[in-house]
């Protein structure tokens, strides 16, 4: 049976390998497109942040007669003070770099207990630069508040430290090689999941519903190879492409992160790849294999019900969306401790990937994930084999 499956597998793979577009989209694209996407987002984000910081803003500060706050603000924002001292709300609404700060009570002696400064910032939240300037004003006001507070305490013979009797120092006990892996644990499972399902979808549908639509399945069935062998050969083929696709996605992400693409997600997030050894990579590859097996057999099973590619896409799409949902839902989750979660398809692979990527390997979780994925894949392959023996399903194409 395996020998016959190999005949089907070899033919499908050879067909794909002769298709330059397929090779490009499955193997080359993830390695090029992901670094390009991440680096572009990172470049654009940092360029925007730089522009925001370097822009000359016009700030109308009303009520800061002694200029103390204006002096503090100079450490936070590049600005000129609008000397009209008359608030122009229309301009604040229309301009990206004009904001108004109204300080009420700034003229009183704020070092006196009971005195208060009320500050209002007028800005436009729909403008990125206006929002940036408002946030910097807010930071400056916090700094100004600390300044006043320390003056009040000084008058009472105290200092700011006297108000903080608890001193906190964080000691990270995580091994040095494991630090900086959290970002990978967030991003990688999500992308791998998407690429495995997306990679399986097109070729899985083409080899089932597409074959029916083209009328090329019937001559294969009128042969001495068993239907189960045909089903198995197709599952192996889709699985291989899905694994290769996700492997190259992995490589693409590594390249992107190494080149600094993680800046796309909030600035300088350290990505540490030093701790990954052969063991981690083998474990990761096994997770990819079982996940790809599950995705491939699921898509072939569902695709086999369809009469053509269009119908097949409609059948498969909900499963693809579910996989994306699982990826998003678990993106910011840490791997859970309850072992039964590791028997849930898709989610189990995400959690084990997170374990491996953060260099915390738990055999029990890995084994439960591995065996349950094998079980699901076997059941789905059995289902596919049964479908390939069902004339009702196979003869709907033409």
């Amino acid at each position: 049976m395996l020998k016959d499956s190999f005949v089907i597998y070899r033919k499908e793979l050879k067909n794909m390998m002769k298709d330059r577009r397929a090779i490009f989209s499955v193997f080359i694209l993830p390695m090029i497109i992901l670094p390009i996407i991440f680096l572009t987002i990172g470049f654009v984000t940092s360029a925007q942040q730089r522009t925001d910081a370097e822009t000359l803003y016009l700030v109308n500060i009303i009520g800061d007669e002694d200029g103390r706050f204006t002096e503090v603000l100079q450490d936070f924002l590049v600005f000129e003070r609008d000397e009209t001292r008359v608030p122009d709300y229309t301009r604040a609404l229309e301009s990206d770099n004009y904001i108004i700060v109204e300080l009420e009570g700034a003229d009183s002696d704020l070092t006196q207990v009971g005195k208060r400064l009320d500050a209002k910032i007028y800005y436009r939240s729909t403008s990125r630069r206006s929002s940036f300037a408002a946030q910097q004003v807010r930071n400056a006001l916090n700094q100004y508040s600390s300044l006043i507070m320390s003056e009040r305490l000084k008058a009472l013979g105290l200092s700011l430290d006297d108000l903080n009797p608890v001193r906190t120092e964080m000691q990270d006990l995580a091994p040095e090689e494991a630090r900086g892996t959290e970002f990978l644990a967030i991003m990688l499972p999500y992308f791998v999941l998407i690429f495995i399902f997306a990679g399986s979808m097109n070729i899985g549908l083409d080899t089932t519903a597409g074959e029916k639509e083209r009328g090329s399945l019937a001559p294969v069935l009128v042969n001495q190879v068993s239907r189960s062998s045909i089903a198995l050969g197709k599952v192996f083929y889709v699985m291989t492409v899905a694994v290769l696709n996700s492997f190259f996605t992995f490589v693409g992400l590594m390249v992107a992160f190494t080149l600094g693409g993680s800046e796309a997600f909030g600035g300088e997030i350290p990505v540490n790849l030093a701790g990954f050894g052969i063991g981690s990579l083998i474990a990761l590859l096994l997770v990819l294999l079982t996940l790809a097996g599950f995705a491939a057999s699921l898509i072939i099973l569902v695709g086999s019900f369809a009469r053509n590619m269009k119908e097949g896409a409609g059948y498969v799409m909900p499963f693809y969306l579910l996989a994306i949902f699982a990826g998003i839902a678990t993106m910011n989750m840490e791997a859970v401790h309850q072992i039964h979660f590791y028997a849930l398809p898709v989610v189990n692979s995400v959690f084990v990937m997170k374990d491996i990527l953060t260099l915390q390997f738990f055999w029990s979780r890995f084994v439960v994930m591995f065996l349950s994925n094998l079980l699901y894949t076997s059941l789905l392959v059995l289902g596919v084999a049964r479908l390939f023996n069902s004339e009702k399903v196979l003869n709907t194409g033409s």
Binding site: K11, K14, N15, P219, V220, V222, N223, Q224, L394, S398
Partner: protein, 249 residues
């Protein structure tokens, strides 16, 4: 030799039951082209799919060269070449790749495949495009490739559903010449068609199938004698009228 005895087949869907074949019978001998003639939806494709083991009959039996399609489907498949004009070869594989693929499926040894492929390529005039991707072949070339693919295991019986459907005049001639030649070699040929001229030109025996039932089944020349005509279209319309099919249309 193909023998179809009282075969019935009903398709059941959620909405309805359709009796596609009702006690269908026919017989085709080696060195003979048998034609199943009928309008669209009469049950021709279903009957051929049952002969080819793609479908199972609900009742009756089909025997191909002594092997029952239900009891020994693998033996039947070994002896059958199945072709349909709906089959659209596509993809990046060459005709040669596909021939080897189908030969592997039929467990033909490599040396035998090489030899037969050479014979088929010479016979079907395929040598110029044997290594070209099937996506880049013309309709006629694809049809030749499909014929080669279905013959690589040297079947005794060839089942061809609507052999000239959608083909241009030159490709049609290639196909009909090939079927005649296959008959000359002592093979059994079963075709389905709704084109009277194709059946007239090719078939030794014809069965007219209407609404899943065999309405007429005989040698072509005997049929002409019985209906006092030399035109299959006249026979068809006389039979259809007698069966009340024309009133339903």
């Amino acid at each position: 030799m193909v023998s179809v005895k009282n075969v019935s087949k009903t398709f059941v869907s959620r909405k309805k039951k359709v009796k596609a074949l009702d006690k269908v019978f026919f017989h085709a001998e080696p060195g003979e082209i048998f034609g199943l003639l009928g309008p669209n939806g009469a049950g021709k494709t279903t009957a051929l799919r049952i002969v080819s083991t793609l479908l199972r009959p609900d009742e009756g039996e089909v025997v191909v060269n002594g092997f029952n399609t239900l009891k020994k489907p693998q033996q039947v498949r070994k002896r059958i070449g199945f072709l349909t004009s709906d089959m659209r070869l596509s993809g990046n594989l060459s005709a040669k790749d596909l021939i080897f693929f189908f030969a592997d499926l039929s467990r033909v040894p490599r040396e035998t495949t090489e030899k037969r492929m050479k014979e088929l390529a010479d016979y079907l005039d395929m040598n110029d495009f044997l290594d070209r991707s099937v996506d880049k072949l013309s309709t006629g070339m694809k049809q030749k490739a499909a014929i080669a693919v279905s013959l690589i295991h040297d079947p005794d019986v060839i089942v061809f559903d609507e052999p000239t459907n959608g083909l241009d005049i030159i490709t049609s001639k290639t196909v009909t010449d090939f079927l005649k030649d296959f008959r000359e070699r002592g093979k059994t040929v079963i075709i389905s068609t709704h084109v009277m001229s194709v059946a007239e030109k090719l078939c030794d025996k014809v069965a007219i199938i209407l609404e899943g039932k065999i309405a007429e089944n005989d040698k072509l020349k005997d049929m002409y004698a019985r209906y006092s005509t030399d035109n299959l279209e006249d026979v068809f319309f006389t039979v259809a009228e007698k069966e009340g099919v024309l009133e339903d249309a």
